[in-house]
């Protein structure tokens, strides 16, 4: 297939490339990440570095085993981004091996066993999160309050927390918003009783709540997402349909039974809703390509997130919702296709409409 290269155009090309796409997504993730690292301090910084670095090393190892050109592929930034997203979803004080295992699952199992870049059926970061959540539920749900870098553990204490599993530092362990709601409602409390215990809306918007390393700041993730849409890296279809469906369903439920269901704003500003809507669900490889397909996919994710959060056994359902819909992507693509020019939706040529005949010329 080298011959066609020279015999036909185009002989000009957009400057957009895979590595640029990855770089832009990373840049859009950066504000929320830096904020998370600052709020959770040294242990979070070490965990982040370990996760990203190990993701890249696993990538290089896999490329070498697969016999692919290491220099070309390892430099595209996709593995760094995957490791980054895995780190974003981990509890900030998690031990180093949790990050490393997450990277290994994401890169080796979810990405390279499926054939490498562009071939994976499931979103690697979400596969890692779901597997860790099921295998190590305690480690994956140990939250700490964000106290800021200066107030938190120092450099050496941070090293001890991440690499030695030290429990010495008296971290204020606390529940995340969603797990608090889940446990309280499960115990028979009503929303109005729980509400005073929850962090305020501003705290959730800014990110002054316990939660995963990079998921706490709703506003920064939202800004990053808007930047991605403005730069045309992602289309607004998936984010809007995910958020819209989640908000719509929770609004409906909380209007009908305000005591049993969390209100829409709570859903939108807690857990990994924002990260999912803008950075996870929009993953190119594992989401449908056409606008209509994206819409179906986004709506289904929004609905699944609501269902799993409300009735599931885990407080957060984003990873499962995304993975379930990843599995449906090929199906969606088979049935939801763009209309071809000059054809009907079913693929038949448009009818040739007869115009009023003029002077018997026909």
């Amino acid at each position: 297939m080298t011959a066609p290269l020279i015999i036909s155009g185009p002989h000009t090309h957009t400057l957009f490339t895979v590595s640029r796409t990855m770089l832009t997504v990373s840049a859009a993730l950066a504000p929320a990440t830096l904020f998370g690292l600052w709020m959770f301090g040294w242990p979070a910084i070490f965990l982040f570095l370990v996760t990203v670095a190990s993701a890249w090393l696993f990538e290089v190892a896999c490329l070498r085993v697969a016999g692919k050109p290491v220099a070309r592929f390892a430099g595209d930034g996709s593995a760094i981004l995957t490791g980054w997203l895995v780190a974003m979803t981990l509890p900030p004080y998690a031990p180093w091996w949790l990050g490393g295992t997450g990277s290994a699952i994401a890169i080796v199992i979810a990405k390279h066993l499926f054939g490498g870049l562009g071939q994976n059926l499931f979103n690697p970061a979400m596969v890692a999160r779901a597997m860790l959540l099921i295998a190590l539920p305690v480690h994956m749900t140990t939250w700490v309050a964000p106290v800021g870098l200066p107030e938190g553990p120092g450099f050496l204490d941070g090293l001890a927390i991440t690499f030695a599993g030290s429990q010495e530092f008296d971290a204020v362990s606390s529940a995340s918003t969603l797990s608090h709601i889940k446990s309280q409602i499960g115990a028979g409390a009503t929303m109005s009783e729980i509400a005073p215990d929850l962090a305020g809306l501003e705290a959730r918007l800014i990110g002054l709540v316990p939660g995963s390393l990079g998921e706490t700041s709703t506003i920064l993730l939202l800004l990053g997402g808007i930047a991605l849409m403005a730069l045309r890296i992602v289309t607004p279809v998936i984010p809007l349909s995910v958020l819209g469906t989640l908000a719509g369903l929770s609004a409906l439920a909380s209007t009908l039974a305000p005591d049993r269901f969390a209100p829409p704003l709570l859903h939108l500003t807690s857990g990994s809703t924002m990260l999912c809507a803008f950075f996870i669900a929009t993953d190119y490889v594992t989401s449908p390509v056409t606008a209509m397909g994206k819409f179906v996919y986004g709506v289904a994710i929004g609905a699944l997130v609501f269902v799993i959060r409300t009735w599931g056994s885990f407080p957060e359902g984003v990873a499962f919702a995304v993975l379930l819909m990843n599995a449906c992507t090929p199906l969606i693509e088979t049935y939801v296709r763009p209309r071809v020019f000059g054809r009907t939706r079913t693929g038949k040529p448009l009818p040739v409409k007869a115009r009023a005949p003029r002077g018997g010329k026909r």
């Binding site: 000009t12 090309h13 490339t17 640029r20 070309r72 020019f341």
Partner: protein, 517 residues
């Protein structure tokens, strides 16, 4: 009078352009301010006998013949073909084969003329007064002048002008979109020869019997737009200039019609089915010259551009001029080009041999530097969907590519392989730099080959069946003949046996044979 359709009043496509499409850097400024210049007559002209879609023309001259300017040297053969004329006076030094202006560079029948520099005209074609001429006369004149679509498709124009016989036409669209980057020849022609183009447009409109003319020009050609807007009628047929968004591939016939009328040409149908015929602006100019002055199509305006050319320009070039001479006329190369193209950078064709001639469909000669044709490494598909977003036809090129790569041509056909217009938007926009449109070209070729083979097989089968039927019919006839003869013999024998007494039953026996006669 029907009530105007709401969709016709508000069409977002008029403001937002066609679905999909891309916005490559146009780089038209390189040559857009250079007025059209005439190139001196080169010493050698190589005029291919096939510069159009359809059957190759039949050569009318032999080696050592003297030809004069405008003399018919190749006659159209068959209903879809075009006449070829001597672009200047001189001596025919070869009627043979020469490399085609095509990526293959394969030799094609070509008449080579050594020019004498006199440029002496022979008899011109008879002129017509289009105001009084019948549509058939105009179409015949256009056919006589050997005019083909000069936007690059090179379909014989006269065939398109005769569409009124079969279709109920109401609009002539003049395609002045020139959506390919770099090219400025139509732009310059519309700026400098607006009146002549308007006249040619009117003549064509008359031949087609349409009620209105729309000249479509992309928004980035302000001067061409204002030049053409000076005319609101052409041969008393209302003419309107419609500015269309600057977007590639705006010049695609069916997409242009969609923008202008809001109606989509059904798949496998022609725009004529909607009552619309599209002609190129340069074609209109050629029609004007042919009908008013009796000049056949002997030259065309070519954009010579690209950063490897020292002096980008718009040059009126005789058909058959070697590409290398046109580049030399533009002061040669400023640097070694990475590739040499005929046409625009999106759909143009690279040539290996710079001595191939300029033909009727050559709109541009581009010498691009390495920096202009970024050759990036191909990465795996990340399913970003940019190709599907960019596709003006609504295909999913990444899927086509995947199916073609796994040799599933039928599967590719089911998702629209044959609807592809090979505009190249997908390849242009692909961040992984996957050669999508190139792969589709390959598959289309394969499919056409398979189709040809299937057709051949069926034809063979049909012929064999026909022969068998014929033979069987012959055998049957023979058998009947034998049976008849036998019956006659029988009858005669019986008659002879029963000759003495006249026997009534024998006549009854002979009855069947008699009835067969």
């Amino acid at each position: 009078m029907s009530f105007p359709h709401f969709a016709a009043l508000f069409r977002p496509s008029q403001f937002f352009g066609i679905r999909g499409g891309v916005h490559p850097e146009t780089r038209k400024h390189l040559s857009s301010e250079s007025p059209i210049e005439d190139m001196p007559i080169p010493t050698l002209l190589r005029v291919p006998l096939q510069q159009h879609i359809g059957a190759e023309a039949e050569p009318l001259v032999r080696r050592d013949d003297l030809v004069v300017k405008g003399q018919l040297i190749g006659r159209a053969r068959g209903p879809v073909s075009a006449n070829i004329h001597a672009p200047t006076s001189g001596r025919v030094i070869a009627v043979g084969h020469f490399a085609a202006p095509h990526p293959s560079g394969l030799p094609i029948p070509t008449i080579t003329i050594r020019t004498d520099g006199q440029d002496s005209w022979g008899p011109r074609l008879g002129r017509l007064r289009p105001e009084n001429a019948t549509p058939e006369e105009i179409a015949a004149k256009v056919a006589e002048a050997g005019i083909v679509g000069m936007g690059g498709a090179t379909f014989p124009s006269a065939v398109k002008l005769n569409l009124r016989a079969k279709y109920d036409l109401h609009t002539l669209v003049i395609n002045g979109a020139e959506c390919e980057p770099y090219l400025t020849c139509d732009d310059r022609l519309m700026r400098e020869r607006a009146e002549e183009i308007a006249d040619g447009v009117g003549i064509m409109a008359r031949a087609l019997g349409v009620a209105q003319i729309v000249v479509a020009i992309e928004s980035n050609k302000a001067e061409a737009i204002s030049a053409m807007q000076r005319f609101d009628r052409a041969l008393d047929i209302p003419l309107r200039v419609q500015v269309v968004p600057t977007q590639y591939p705006m010049g695609s016939e069916k997409h242009l019609v969609k923008i202008l009328t809001g109606r989509e040409t059904p798949a496998r149908a022609l725009t004529a089915d909607l009552g619309v015929v599209v002609h190129n602006a340069a074609t209109a100019h050629a029609v004007h010259l042919a009908v008013r002055y009796g000049e056949p199509l002997l030259s065309r305006v070519v954009t010579v551009s690209g950063r490897a050319v020292r002096r980008p320009a718009n040059v009126r070039v005789l058909i058959g001029t070697p590409v290398s001479e046109v580049i030399a006329h533009c002061d040669g190369y400023a640097e070694e080009p990475d590739r040499l193209l005929l046409g625009g950078p999106m759909m143009g064709q690279p040539i290996q041999n710079p001595r191939v001639p300029v033909v009727k469909g050559t709109s541009g000669i581009l010498a691009l530097t390495r920096a202009e044709t970024p050759g990036l490494d191909t990465m795996p598909c990340i399913r970003c969907g940019r190709c599907a977003q960019a596709c003006p036809v609504g295909l999913t090129p990444f899927e086509l590519n995947a199916r073609i790569q796994s040799e599933d041509l039928e599967g590719a056909g089911r998702i629209g392989l044959l609807d592809c217009i090979t505009c190249g938007c997908c390849s242009f926009t692909c961040p992984s730099n996957i050669p999508l449109v190139q792969t589709i070209h390959y598959a289309k070729g394969k499919l056409a080959e398979a189709e040809g083979r299937r057709h051949q097989q069926e034809e063979t089968k049909r012929l064999a069946a026909a022969r068998k039927a014929r033979e069987e019919a012959a055998a049957e006839a023979k058998r009947q003949m034998m049976a008849k003869r036998k019956a006659e013999m029988e009858a005669r024998k019986q008659r002879e046996a029963a000759a003495p007494p006249p026997p009534p039953p024998a006549q009854a026996m002979a009855q069947p044979g008699g009835a067969a006669q």
